[in-house]
């Protein structure tokens, strides 16, 4: 069974219309239940990345000091904590390992680790949609 998510679009003064790959994913929050968040589906991101404050809502126990770091192509690094998120898309529940970044301004990025093992991701540019197919 596949899940089809239409592209969203934004306007750029340089390039005109650009598709914006926003994916609504529910995150399990302790004592609240599932809450919808919009992630950027980022096939260029090694793993899922979310702001640290989200760990408070999920009930995740983070180590006292950052145990990971993100490094960008420009060499800059950002401290982070390894963790896990319980997610749901439609009726599909699954878990992904993630990094909680020290910064509280980090966008929610759905990266490749675990997600790409669980789903076949098809950028269907003919029909302007993302098609997700559960693999296992």
């Amino acid at each position: 069974m596949s899940i089809k998510i239409p592209y969203q679009y934004k306007q750029s003064p340089y390039f005109g219309k650009i598709c914006d790959i926003g994916l609504v994913v529910e995150i399990w929050l302790s004592s609240i239940g599932y809450q919808p968040f919009q992630f950027a589906l980022d096939s260029g991101a090694d793993c899922t990345i979310v702001p640290r404050h989200l760990a408070n809502l999920t009930g995740a126990c983070l180590p006292p000091t950052p145990d990971a770091a993100l490094t960008g192509v420009d060499g800059e690094t950002m401290p982070a904590y390894t963790g896990h998120l319980k997610l749901r898309i439609g009726s599909d529940e699954f878990g992904v390992r993630c990094l909680f970044t020290e910064s509280d301004k980090t966008p929610l990025l759905l990266g490749r680790v675990d997600f790409f093992s669980l789903f076949n991701v098809h950028f269907d540019n003919r029909n302007n949609q993302i098609v997700l197919e559960r693999l296992n």
């Binding site: 003064p13 340089y14 968040f37 980022d42 991101a45 090694d46 809502l57 993100l70 960008g72 509280d104």
Partner: protein, 64 residues
């Protein structure tokens, strides 16, 4: 509210498709009273937002 959403980089909470709060940080947003009260509601959507026309590149997402 609409203009505020378009002018700032940060996070926005939308309820039934309409923005109800924007902040520059995630923690600030989810601690706002009206957002906190709606957490768990399927009509509430929390997302990152960018000003119209901004080119966005996520640069800290490689080589853990």
């Amino acid at each position: 509210m609409k203009n505020k959403v378009l002018e700032s980089v940060g996070f926005v909470a939308c309820y039934k498709g309409k923005p109800i709060a924007t902040t520059q940080s995630f923690g600030e947003l989810v601690n706002k009273k009206k957002v906190k009260q709606l957490l768990g509601n399927k009509d509430l959507l929390i997302k990152h937002t960018n000003p119209n026309g901004m080119i966005v590149v996520y640069k800290n997402t490689l080589s853990i």
